[in-house]
């Protein structure tokens, strides 16, 4: 453990006193963090949102918000950052440290071309000549596995997919050949398969370039798979630092153990015998086409959902899994009447729901049967309403004649059902955590006593431990109320915890469907296997595949870009298990 290149020495970070209470003084958010990273080493910094991991790494990069103060020391290659003159510091950060962020789309200037972004630092900081910088940029883009780099150089960020943009970020960071790479949740916003690609790129780079990596993530399994050591943070403190290879055995801190169990694949939920009851939802040969403008300005058809069919039993739970662009969310939106289908049928309790409901009465009737919970609880709640106002409104829609007392009782009942403290009823969304907000959103959906609950990536924005809590809650609610769950997710682990049936989608088509245990433990389609392989776990080695999606979304699905050729996924040949043939 010689050659320390990055050292946090008893680092504490304090936020300025809030404007509302200037007398309160600064509030310490990160406490006494000590972390040492040697040359060529890869260290993971793991914790939930609010644990201080991102602040710690931003202080290294000089990106603390205005007014934040630090005590302790940050040393990069032996230089104490606080002691360096300003110009030196800027040069050190520009040439010795590279940083890659969570959301590449937000971190690239939308108005400038990829080429501009790639060459900017080379020209401005390293004083390269523009043509030399350009050549190097093209080489770097090729190095991180971006096809057709010459063309990419002329495009703007909006024309690239998230996975490609993250590679552009990495390539641009490498332009200065920094020995230290700070990676802040770089794969959190990506699909599992894209995450695997990006992590494979990082692993390759470390092999060829002797990069020192500080890898920030909330996903302990991912950190364990790609790092040498893992530091676990909670409430601004490092609770323990573990050797990644043996972390499961060595972990002693209860919080680490909780994180470890949260990232383990969940128990496959016991399969319920499907009784003869009529399915509550039947979808048959559903098709949805969007008209999009091609890059050349022509109108083109983009088939978002193509011949999709499945059924949901009363009180059952079905997961629809796929990457972004697979058509899973569009399917859910059609079912809920937010989009009109172009072909096929949606039958709910025998009623035809293919066309969107017209008129308040019809829409209310449908809302009583199917309710939806969205991905982002920060945006799907009205920030001016208190929790009680929000829920009362939802109850009153379906019980217009309920008295105030009845409303209060029903809201209390809903809060109890989603295990929210009744004291929180007077709060507004701002003062609630992500998990609490999503509970409110679920309670609001339950207000109508629906028979189907559609969950569109309802836990993807949450921390792993909160995810497990919410999923457990949903499973309990299903058992107690008999509501059927239709769960849309890109994450097989999530679906595994709650669903008994699963539909795997890609490029608008159903690739495979059946009981969850069969599909996940013995996948028949290559694509399902790919999805399963890309979940980080112990001993996981990310692999590079030929990129299957290189255009920005919405990509026009062509035969060539499908993993399974279109001919072989004709409706008859889709493996549909658990059905008598």
């Amino acid at each position: 453990m010689s050659d320390l290149v990055l050292e946090l020495d008893h680092l504490s970070i304090a936020a300025p006193a809030p404007l509302a209470a200037p007398g309160a003084g600064p509030r310490t958010i990160v406490h006494d963090v000590t972390l040492q990273v040697s040359a060529g080493e890869s260290v993971g910094l793991v914790g939930e949102s609010g644990s201080g991991k991102t602040l710690s790494v931003r202080s290294v990069a000089g990106l603390l918000p205005a007014g934040f103060t630090t005590t302790g020391a940050i040393r990069v290659e032996g230089h104490d950052l606080a002691q360096l003159p300003k110009a030196e510091l800027r040069r050190l950060r520009a040439t010795r440290i590279g940083m890659v962020f969570q959301t590449p789309r937000a971190h690239l200037n939308p108005l400038r071309t990829i080429g501009d972004f790639m060459t900017e630092a080379l020209i401005a900081v390293a004083k390269e000549r523009p043509d030399a910088a350009r050549r190097r940029a093209v080489d770097l883009l090729a190095e991180v596995g971006i096809p057709d780099p010459e063309r990419r150089m002329r495009q703007r960020p909006a024309e690239l997919s998230g996975g490609l943009l993250q590679r552009v970020m990495i390539a641009a960071t490498l332009a200065m050949d920094p020995p230290i790479l700070l990676a802040d949740e770089i794969t959190t916003a990506l699909d599992v398969t894209t995450q695997e690609e990006v992590m494979a790129v990082i692993a390759d780079l470390r092999k060829h370039r002797d990069l020192t990596l500080l890898f920030i993530t909330h996903d302990l399994a991912l950190a364990g798979a790609v790092c040498d050591r893992v530091a676990v943070m909670q409430h601004g403190r490092v609770v323990e630092t573990l050797n990644a290879a043996t972390m499961r055995q060595d972990a002693t801190d209860p919080y680490t153990k909780r994180l470890l169990s949260a990232s383990l694949p969940g128990e496959v939920s016991a399969e319920r015998p499907t009784d003869a009851a009529d399915p509550v939802l039947v979808v048959q040969s559903l098709r949805k086409v969007f008209s999009v403008l091609s890059p050349k300005g022509r109108r083109e058809e983009f088939v978002a959902v193509d011949d999709v069919g499945f059924r949901l039993e009363p009180g059952g739970s079905l997961g629809i899994v796929g990457e972004s662009g697979s058509g899973k969310s569009t399917t859910a939106r059609v079912i809920c009447g937010l989009e009109a289908a172009d072909a096929g049928t949606v039958l709910v309790k025998g009623e035809d729901w293919t066309k969107a409901a017209r008129g308040t009465k019809a829409r209310r009737h449908r809302a009583r049967i199917a309710q939806m919970v969205f991905q982002d609880p920060y945006q799907s709640l009205d920030r001016r309403q208190t929790v009680r106002e929000c829920l009362s409104e939802a109850v009153a829609v379906h019980r217009p004649r309920a008295s105030r007392v009845e409303l209060t009782a029903r809201v209390d009942e809903l809060l109890t059902a989603v295990t929210l403290d009744l004291d929180l009823a007077g709060q507004r969304p701002r003062s609630l955590s992500g998990g609490q907000r999503q509970r409110v959103a679920i309670a609001r959906a339950l207000a109508a006593d629906p028979e189907i609950l559609v969950l569109d990536e309802a836990v993807s924005a949450l921390d792993v431990t909160t995810q497990v809590e919410i999923l457990t809650l949903l499973d309990r609610i299903r058992r107690e109320t008999g509501v059927a769950l239709l769960m849309i997710s890109h994450d097989l682990t999530t679906v595994r915890r709650v669903c008994d049936q699963v539909v795997v989608m890609k490029s608008g088509r159903v690739i495979e469907q059946g009981p969850i245990a069969d599909v996940l433990d013995d996948p028949r389609a290559d694509y399902t296997r790919t999805l399963l392989d890309s979940i980080p776990r112990e001993g996981w080695v990310p692999r590079r595949r030929i990129p299957t999606r290189t255009a920005s979304l919405p990509a026009v699905a062509t035969r060539a870009t499908r993993i399974i050729p279109a001919e072989s996924v004709a409706p008859e040949s889709i493996p549909r298990r658990g059905e008598k043939t």
């Binding site: 040069r91 937000a106 200037n109 108005l111 900017e120 900081v125 969007f290 403008l293």
Partner: protein, 318 residues
């Protein structure tokens, strides 16, 4: 230039012509409502029935309204702007000598607005602290001051008390023109400087706090370059669209300054013609104002589309 860029431009041009056509209908129709123009034409002299007959025939006032409209529109398209009721001279001869001074006044005002409005906005956003507060106070006062009040204050201070600037007329020759137009231009610009300063500050502050600017900082790009290439460039569409609307509107409100400072420009001609019900003059100037507004805004839209190609594309619904 591929189809993706040309198509929106063609659409824009079509929309522009349609706007102008609708504006011509509205302007023509609205002015018909102001009553019988005979009094304006005879200039207050009590006309004999025979004279009225002659005038009605000469100005085609007995034709149906739509025919009168078509004759007027046809004239404008072919370059015949009509004849003034009051001066009995072609409208073009009234407008031509006055348009230059108004254009000069508006340009002068635009320069002041752009330099001081955008400049103070950037200064407030980048310096923060006391500078920001000072600009905030100054612009709060600025947006609250009506143009004619500013004109009166300026005339009193610089004209009477200090005697630095002339307060009447437009002067002779370009330099003298500019000298004479200084106070009018200031009086027109104060409100818009304050307004544009606020807009610029907001847009720049938003960009300064954006994540892609963080990226540039981490990469060690010099801060001047960050400002030019990432902050100002990205803030510019918003600043430009506001500037465009402002500039286009200036031709209309230039009348206030022209009247206050006794400048014989288009604005004062319009107010005078309106007061004397000189319909042909009012119609032509009104149509010119609309045309300018539409054209300036279209030009700004094209510039914005060049900076941000996505702004021109229709929103995707998926």
């Amino acid at each position: 230039m591929n189809r993706a860029t040309i198509r929106p431009l063609l659409g824009k041009l079509g929309g522009l012509l349609l706007t102008l056509f609708l504006a011509s209908v509205v302007i023509f129709a609205a002015l018909q409502l102001t009553g019988d123009p005979i009094a304006a034409i005879t200039g207050g002299v009590r006309p004999t029935p025979e004279l009225i007959e002659t005038i009605r025939a000469q100005y085609h006032l007995d034709d149906p309204i739509w025919l009168q409209y078509l004759r007027w529109l046809g004239g404008i398209v072919t370059g015949d702007l009509g004849t003034s009721f009051v001066y009995k001279t072609p409208v073009v001869d009234l407008i031509a000598p006055r348009i230059g001074i108004t254009v000069l006044l508006v340009l002068y005002t635009v320069v002041l607005i752009v330099v001081f409005g955008i400049g103070s906005g950037i200064l407030a956003a980048r310096r923060g602290g006391a500078t920001d507060k000072a600009v905030l106070v100054a612009t709060s006062v600025g947006v609250a001051l009506p143009t004619f009040v500013v004109a009166i204050l300026l005339i009193w201070l610089f004209g009477r008390e200090l005697g630095w600037f002339p307060v009447y007329g437009a002067g002779e020759g370009l330099l003298d023109n500019l000298y004479h137009l200084t106070l009018p231009a200031i009086s027109l610009s104060v409100l818009y400087i304050a307004y544009l300063s606020r807009i610029t500050r907001g847009a720049v502050v938003a960009q300064l706090g954006s994540e892609h600017v963080d990226t540039a900082r981490v990469r060690g790009i010099p801060s001047e370059q960050i400002f030019r290439r990432h902050v100002f460039l990205n803030a510019s569409p918003q600043v430009l669209s506001i500037s465009g609307a402002t500039i286009a509107g200036l031709f209309a409100i230039s009348a206030i300054a022209e009247v206050a400072f006794g400048i014989g420009g288009l604005g004062s001609l319009l107010t005078e013609a309106a007061a004397r019900k000189d319909l042909p003059v009012v119609q032509v100037i009104s149509l010119m104002l609309v045309a300018l507004f539409v054209v300036v805004n279209a030009v700004v839209d094209v510039i914005i589309a060049a900076i941000d190609p996505d702004s021109a594309k229709p929103r995707r619904n998926a």
